[in-house]
């Protein structure tokens, strides 16, 4: 009787272990624990900084929680997280191929701009109209990301340098195009924008002025990312190529193809990051354009370890921190503390992951050796 109970407990435990074992490298539990520890360390460090500048960390943190845990702010958290999650997915596709796409910033701006321009001049039923705008945004981002990819494949130009430079170039091109070609003046209005999108291209809000239904699209993006990168044959080749380009090449996988395809995919996803702004908030491109999604997306991808679930959690954390910056200001606590917390979280996460990763690698190797050596030693 007790034996059978023992047995079923054993199988349950091993099932649980397998459930948390992901790819067999590092369990989800360890990843979660190490990320939480990193966030906690970051809060302590930022607290020390607050205390050193004469503010009470407890005050600041309780203010953040108090302000952040209201309905309004929670909706704002999700609303702010949406573009960051999309941008982070774009960055993560690059990371999986060992490419650092810093150009997401420029790619989503290209997406927003061309989608605004093209979307304003067509008239279609709503679903088609919005679909067309998504396609234009994705194409603009993809074309813009193809440039560094082709430069890398043909000329060996490092994609980090190419994408950083393209970000600057993007701003100049868009500013010029906007000022010279697509500025749409409405008499009596100071707010200068491109031509307003017809209402057929407006995405409905889930909660009026608080939360755009684009959040569903972001979820679709995350799921598609997961399916393609982690489950598909193409994703397997992408990850193999990113993990060991020479071994992948020897196995008949062309790394040049992978570089171009993954950059183009990354750019296409990046093109969607600005859609909340375009389709739900502004309905046109203008000087109030969003900024920083690309750079914050890199942070979110790093914090989420390029994993779909991790990216969602990290995106929400970033959205939360952004949403409480305002209330902190009102409470006479400098809102730059939010920036400090973000930066410190990022640093501690990178360091903690590295340390934990090494320990886990060593333990895995030792355990594998252990399972093999023990019976031999006993024999």
């Amino acid at each position: 009787m007790s034996e059978s109970i023992n047995e079923s407990v054993d199988t349950a435990v091993s099932k649980l272990q397998r459930l948390f074992k992901g790819s067999g490298q590092q369990s989800v539990l360890i990843t979660l624990a190490s990320s939480l520890a990193a966030v906690a360390i970051a809060l302590v460090l930022a607290g020390i900084l607050l205390w050193a500048t004469g503010k009470s960390p407890f005050d600041a943190y309780s203010k953040m929680l108090e302000a952040g845990l209201t309905n309004d702010k929670l909706l704002e958290t999700v609303q702010r997280a949406t573009p960051l999650i999309v941008a982070a997915v774009a960055v993560a596709i690059g990371f999986k191929m060992n490419l650092f796409n810093i150009g997401v910033e420029g790619q989503y701006l290209m997406g927003v701009f061309w989608a605004a321009v093209v979307g304003a001049y067509v008239h279609l039923p709503s679903v088609l109209h919005i679909g067309l705008i998504f396609l234009v945004a994705m194409a603009a981002g993809a074309i813009w990301a193809a440039i560094p990819a082709i430069l890398k494949v043909k000329k060996g130009v490092n994609e980090v340098i190419a994408t950083i430079m393209l970000n600057t170039i993007t701003l100049s091109i868009i500013d010029w195009l906007f000022q010279e070609k697509f500025r749409h003046e409405i008499p009596g209005q100071l707010d200068v924008k491109t031509k307003l999108l017809p209402t057929t291209a407006w995405l409905p809000d889930l909660v009026k002025n608080r939360l755009s239904s684009f959040v569903f699209m972001a979820l679709v993006v995350v799921i598609v990312f997961w399916l393609i990168v982690y489950k598909s044959k193409f994703g397997f080749r992408l990850r193999a190529s990113g993990a060991n380009a020479i071994a992948a090449r020897t196995a008949g996988i062309s790394s040049n193809n992978m570089i171009v395809t993954s950059m183009v995919m990354s750019g296409a996803i990046a093109g969607l990051a600005g859609m909340t702004y375009l389709l739900s908030t502004s309905h046109a491109y203008g000087p109030t354009r969003p900024e920083g999604y690309g750079f914050n997306g890199i942070a979110v991808a790093l914090l989420g370890r390029n994993h779909p679930a991790g990216i969602i959690v990290a995106g929400l954390l970033w959205g939360f921190l952004d949403s409480v910056a305002g209330p902190l200001q009102i409470a006479k606590i400098p809102q730059s503390i939010v920036l400090v917390i973000k930066a410190v979280i990022l640093l501690t996460v990178v360091i903690v992951n590295e340390v934990v990763g090494r320990r886990v690698a060593k333990r895995t190797a030792d355990r594998t050796a252990a399972q093999l050596t023990l019976p031999v030693v006993a024999a």
Binding site: K21, S23, G24, Q25, L227, K231, S232, K233, F234, G235, F236, R237, R239, A240, A243, N244, I246, A247, A248, R249, T250, A251, G252, I253, S254, A361, R363, T364, A365, D366, R367, T368, A369, A370, Q371, L372, T373, L374, V376, V377, A379
Partner: protein
């Protein structure tokens, strides 16, 4: 030479890792001024023991005595201070620095903050004269070959004043001529009073070069023998604890169907030189064609050309009569060609990925592993378990990352992956490099079985015994050309050595 004084004595060493005893009850006595070989299978605990002696980790029990003085090593610097130096299997050199800079790195003689290069040079020249080695101190390390790099590593250790040298599989990367040179250097060092602890798999070398041999099996020392008391077979059996299958002989016949044909293949090399110059040969079903040669004489380019990673300047390649010169690597690999690459870590495996993804690599086009555009992980894992079973890969499961396996088991997995797609042509580059005798015998068995079933094998190996033992015909490559054709019966290591270094074969047949 050999005196009765003892350089290193280890007694009752026990080293535990969480849940495992890597070394237990290890006793080792190394006499001063001798070459002492330590042999054992991969995973037997040789490296763990040497790391203990070099202070890289601390034992749970036992004592270390160096020159009669009991020592506790907290770190390698304690071991270095006691006169122990280690030459690792994987070299640790900075490519863009010169030999001299590499040697003094971390141990620079300084005066007032300035490095005394002159002083270092004088000391090194003296060490080189004493040990009979020579390396150009001003050459950048990036210009050096493997053998010379190893000499730099040895000089580095001597420069730090080591009198006891631990060499971890020093011959794994060397060709026969370089091995001879290394051994003569080691003898000079020993004559000069140094003591050498030498870890190796290659039993012939161990028997020729060492004064004493200690055998480690399953974490403990099981025998101490003198080379004159044992045969190679006896030593191998001491290592694995059982009798070994014999490596020679074949039952089947070479068939008539030509599986792979190379016709006047020429491949561009660096500069004006051709990496391959007018290479032609064919391999029939059930035939093993061995290529002997010093590494870097075109073997790598030959393999990459056959796989399709390098496009030849001229010439044609055909598989079973079909011209494949202009097909993609993917096409060739999906149509009966398999490749065991030169370097399993660099070209063969995804070290961070689980074993099942490793066995899937290169075979992901096979419909049995796909469900539409998705990977059928269940089928891939089942297949991986089958490879693990059939090729006796020692691992708890297919979910373990590849880095956790020992080298021999990684290689068995790789060979298993390449054979389980049922290829008709296999290119096997160093299929048993750096693996222990047990794994080597297992890999040979599998290659023979596949050959008997009709596989055509191109075997490239630095292990001449392997080339002679497995091949039906042997070609020697030198400087991008085939400069000798031999049968295994007429090939001896000496004769092959002559052709490998450029000797011209008299045209006979």
């Amino acid at each position: 030479m050999a005196t009765d004084s003892v350089a290193v004595q280890l007694t009752g060493i026990e080293k535990r890792f969480p849940g495992v005893i890597a070394n237990h009850d290890v006793n080792l006595t190394v006499r001063t001024g001798t070459i002492h070989a330590i042999v054992g299978e991969n995973g037997a605990g040789k490296s763990t023991l040497m790391k203990t002696l070099y202070g890289m980790h601390q034992p749970e029990a036992g004592t270390i005595t160096v020159f009669g003085e009991q020592k506790v090593f907290r770190s390698p610097s304690d071991a270095i201070a006691a006169g122990i130096g280690m030459v690792h299997q994987h070299f640790m050199l900075a490519d863009n620095l010169t030999v001299l800079e590499n040697i003094i790195l971390g141990y620079e003689p300084t005066k007032g903050g300035r490095i005394q290069y002159g002083e270092a040079r004088t000391k090194l020249l003296q060490i080189m004269t004493q040990s009979g080695t020579h390396v150009d101190l001003d050459a950048p390390v990036s210009d050096l070959g493997v053998g010379q790099r190893q000499r730099v590593e040895i000089l580095k250790v001597l420069f730090r004043g080591a009198r006891i040298l631990i060499l971890d599989e020093p011959t794994a990367v060397l060709v026969p001529q370089e091995v001879d040179e290394l051994f003569s250097n080691l003898h000079r060092l020993v004559d000069d009073g140094a003591t050498i602890i030498f870890i190796s798999h290659k039993l012939d070398e161990v028997l020729t070069v060492s004064d004493d041999i200690t055998v480690i099996r399953a974490g403990t020392t099981v025998a101490e023998v003198q080379p004159k008391e044992v045969t190679r077979l006896k030593l191998a059996e001491l290592m694995v604890g059982s009798e070994l299958p014999s490596p020679h002989g074949r039952a089947s016949e070479v068939g008539t169907l030509v599986r792979l044909q190379l016709d006047h293949i020429t491949v561009a090399g660096p500069g004006d030189k051709h990496a391959l110059d007018d290479v032609s040969f064919e391999i029939r079903e059930g035939e093993v064609l061995g290529i002997a040669g010093v590494e870097g004489n075109g073997q790598f380019e030959l393999c990459e050309t056959i796989i399709g990673l390098i496009k030849p300047l001229s010439g044609t390649l055909a598989m079973e009569g079909e011209n494949i010169t202009h097909t993609s690597p993917h096409h060739r690999l999906m149509n009966g060609l398999s490749y065991i690459p030169f370097d399993r870590h660099r070209e063969g495996l995804l070290l961070e990925a689980p074993l099942w993804e490793n066995t899937l690599l290169g075979r992901d086009g096979d419909p049995q592993f796909l469900k539409g555009p998705f990977i059928n992980a269940t089928a891939a894992k089942a297949d991986s378990r089958q490879v693990i079973d059939q090729f006796d890969v020692r691992t708890p499961s297919e979910l373990v990352p590849a880095y956790a396996l020992s080298g021999g088991n990684q290689q068995k997995l790789l060979v298993g992956r390449e054979l389980s797609s049922h290829p008709r042509v296999l290119i096997a580059a160093h299929p048993t490099r750096g693996v222990d005798v047990g794994a080597q015998a297992a890999i040979w068995e599998k290659l023979r079985a596949a050959r008997d079933a009709g596989l055509a094998v191109l075997l490239i190996s630095a292990d001449l015994e392997e080339v002679i033992g497995l091949s039906d015909r042997i070609l020697v490559m030198f400087d991008g050309c085939i400069n000798a054709h031999l049968t295994p019966a007429e090939a001896t290591p000496e004769l092959l050595g002559t052709y490998m270094t450029g000797g011209v074969q008299e045209v006979a047949s």
